[in-house]
Symmetry: C2
Subunit: 308 residues, 2 copies
């Protein structure tokens, strides 16, 4: 069975949407990626850092889902990274109310010895030099390195970001960020330019409008499932990425054809994530629910035009 | 072979986009619908009105494509409807620079005798009382009536609009208009409410983000084909509708399953429409081009997850 190494924040979030607000709850890219990937019965480990205030219960919940937490450093005298945000009425945009970097400010990722040969590495959204450090610690060249990033790093650490982008196989990025990074409005042209920066595959996330997968000659599109109610978009992009790498780790097939399936699995899991606040829905998701919704995805997208 | 009756504007447009501008060229919903539907080798006729300034060449071009123009009234002493608009840089929004209703102001649609038994009726975006008049002139109940409309009629003639909506089988409407009409933000809920107003099928057009097809229990999604260059979005929605009704007229199968295919054909044709200014691309489209791009649509959307 493949090993999946995840690097990403494990954090506290406080979220406000038009449908309610939460106190400090479990959050972070690493957490969402891990929870989504855990659906695929693989071995995974999260490289992250938390403070002495981080509840043991949360770590146990992850371990119960077969996510190893030996990569999560606990800085006893420090405090866990905290983010709070408020979503606008359409849920497509949000304001950050508060960011406390805390222990994340001096995060020095340490890859556990038994994951230095992981076949798949998922670099969650973090400082590009942290992402690079993880790549450099691998003892065996991973079969697949997937990188997620955001506009903040393009604005502030572009040189570091371009260096790590040049080392990865897949980049996941949202549409506005793809335009910013490439200076192209057309997403087809943006993907071509980003492809030339290194990644063989470019995944452009469009939120409620789905996701596109490009390589140098093909393109595939997965819609987001139309939902009656969306309560909280937090973590949807990370859940998507976690489903994507989880499925690829399970199947060990890194072809474009199989990445199509991985994109569908990622979209499928993301459709659950947004149905409740924080990680609640992902913590309690059953195999049957996942399967039923995959059938809905098929009905949503598959048609029967004969082309002889 | 089915007969398709189209009602819609046949007009002059002057268009400005970031990529160029045109003089007065051929436009109008009826024109775009007719050109798209003509791809399916059916009998069609456009009910419309033009002025004495409308070039005979344009009518001949339509006739050459097997689109009957006996429904297009020519008011010799009048002038043809004229619209001019300027698109913003992202092509997703536009300003109307000028609208001259001209002969459209007193348009009294007359359905040609030999189309009063048409199996399929496409009511292009027009005053709801014009749309209603066409329905009332039919001698035989059509197998399928499709209605397109826009926010202008919701703002100004809502009562008339709701009456015609209650008489049709399919409504096509964009996402913002669906929200306005239903007072629901979620498109799933919006479609349910619009469904309750009468139409068995609700098509929500999302422009570059594709289109959704709903009936009371199913949903299907067709993406827009990601394009390197979009020059002019004018007519894309009408081309989509024309492909939709053209395919349904050809196949005479009005099931949800076949409507999925119709939505794909509509999206496919719309992807050509935007590649050149005005009707140019649609006038010169070959069967081979259409077929090749349908294959691209399959590659774009079809995946292979086994669900036993």
């Amino acid at each position: 069975m493949s090993k999946l190494l995840i690097v990403g924040t494990v954090a506290f979030d406080a979220i406000e949407t038009p449908f309610g607000k939460t106190d400090k709850i479990l959050g972070g890219a690493g957490t969402y990626i891990g929870l989504a990937a855990s659906q695929f019965g693989i071995n995974s480990n999260i490289v992250s850092v938390v403070g002495g205030d981080f509840p043991e219960d949360y770590l146990e919940m992850l371990q119960d889902k077969n996510i190893e937490t030996t990569g999560i450093e606990i800085v006893k005298e420090g405090k866990t990274f905290f983010w709070s945000g408020k979503y606008h009425n359409d849920l497509n945009s949000r304001d950050t109310l508060e960011t406390q970097l805390n222990v994340l400010a001096e995060f020095n990722p340490i890859v556990p010895e038994d994951y230095k040969d992981a076949e798949v590495v998922m670099l969650g959204n973090l400082h590009p030099s942290v992402q690079m450090s993880v790549i450099e610690q691998m003892s065996t060249k991973p079969k697949l390195i997937v990188l997620d990033t955001m506009n903040f790093w393009m604005d502030n650490t572009l040189e570091d970001l371009l260096e790590v982008i040049s080392k990865v196989d897949v980049i996941t990025i949202n549409d506005e960020e793809a335009r910013q990074l490439s200076n192209e409005y057309s997403l087809v042209k943006a993907a071509q330019k980003i492809h030339e920066m290194g990644p063989k595959y470019v995944v452009i996330k469009k939120g409620e409008h789905g996701a596109l997968l490009f390589n140098d000659e093909n393109v595939f599109f997965a819609p987001a499932l139309p939902l009656e109610d969306v309560y909280d978009p937090t973590g949807a992009g990370d859940t998507f990425a976690g489903g994507f790498v989880g499925y690829l780790s399970q199947t060990k097939d890194f072809s474009f054809e199989n990445m199509k399936n991985a994109i569908i699995h990622g979209s499928n899991l993301a459709s659950f994530c947004v149905e409740k606040f924080g990680t609640e829905r992902m913590e309690n998701l059953t195999k049957k629910e996942v399967y039923t919704r995959l059938q809905q995805f098929k009905e949503l997208t598959q048609f029967d035009i004969e082309l002889s």
